[in-house]
Symmetry: C2
């Protein structure tokens, strides 16, 4: 395994309300020098969490939300930033209540994902939530979100849909499916 390149300099080269671009001067262990750009975290550096809300061992809930990047509605999972003082499960539960209108009694940690680690620091924690109950919290969403029930035996069909494209959502769903097939959460009641 290679020795990490040395970071000879790191400076901010652009900034907006949400985004910060940094320029890195790197020297690789073979002597090659390169200048890279990367994004600082968006969303103020807080931790982010994405939730797979499970109805049972096959069915889960998704939301349909407007995505400003691609300018269209997208089927996705509830997610958001964890606020100061919240645990990941507490932040996830608040987002669930705001976006789906349910809370969850059981929380199980799954993974931490990066989006494009060559260009971004951004990471998101992924949790599965079980034992759902109805409870709605008022969030900062501009409009109510449609809630859609889907199932793990239809993930290839989900991938084919025009209104679905988000890699981290697909990764989270396949991960839960494979873990459930391997006996995960078997000890809990269904």
């Amino acid at each position: 395994m290679s020795q990490k390149p040395q970071i000879k300099a790191c400076r901010e080269v652009a900034r907006s309300r949400l985004f910060r671009v940094e320029e890195l001067e790197l020297k690789f262990s073979n002597g090659v020098e390169r200048t890279y750009e990367r994004l600082g975290s968006f969303g103020s550096g807080h931790q982010a969490v994405m939730v797979v809300p499970l109805l049972d061992h096959n069915r889960f809930l998704m939301i349909r939300e407007y995505a400003a990047g691609t300018e269209d509605y997208q089927l996705t999972l509830p997610k958001g930033l964890v606020e100061p003082g919240e645990s990941l499960a507490e932040g996830g539960n608040r987002e669930l209540k705001e976006e789906v209108g349910v809370g969850a009694k059981q929380w199980h940690y799954l993974s931490e994902f990066t989006l494009s680690p060559n260009y971004m620091r951004n990471q998101i924690h992924v949790m599965a939530a079980k034992d759902l109950y109805e409870e709605r919290l008022e969030g900062d969403e501009p409009e109510p979100m449609e809630v859609v029930e889907w199932s793990f035996d239809r993930l290839l069909e989900l991938n084919e849909r025009e209104d679905f494209s988000e890699a981290r959502v697909l990764a989270a769903l396949f991960l839960v499916k494979e873990k459930l097939q391997s006996g995960w959460l078997k000890e809990t009641n269904d």
Copy 2:
């Protein structure tokens, strides 16, 4: 399904060599108005392609590459920008030769992924490549990449590794695994 919000204004608010930040003024169909920020494409707007290089119906090749965003080496799949005049398969084959040291005779389209469609336009095409042959092309990589063989029956183990985190790579691998289990590519020889 909701009517799309109206984009009342879109202006550039920050720019660097690779990144461009846009501010959008949106009016949702219920009358609520919001100002969002999003990233324009990084990498000059060219199409991007990520490749799953298949050795057989269980084994595939990965690379270990330095990721400037997270400042460490990451297990990932070969990927890059498609150059003008190249098809997706031609761009994928060039990246394979540069990063892995193999080409592929058979190319199969899988999907188009977004990373964070709320905040970015970026999309990447995913292709599976079969019938590999040895051929190395000189790319713009700062150092040679370690090539690692992995298998579809060890994806949960991959997800647990410290040097693996990239959601789009995990999504692509699970997608190929599930499609292979559903009889995909069965018509070709192994």
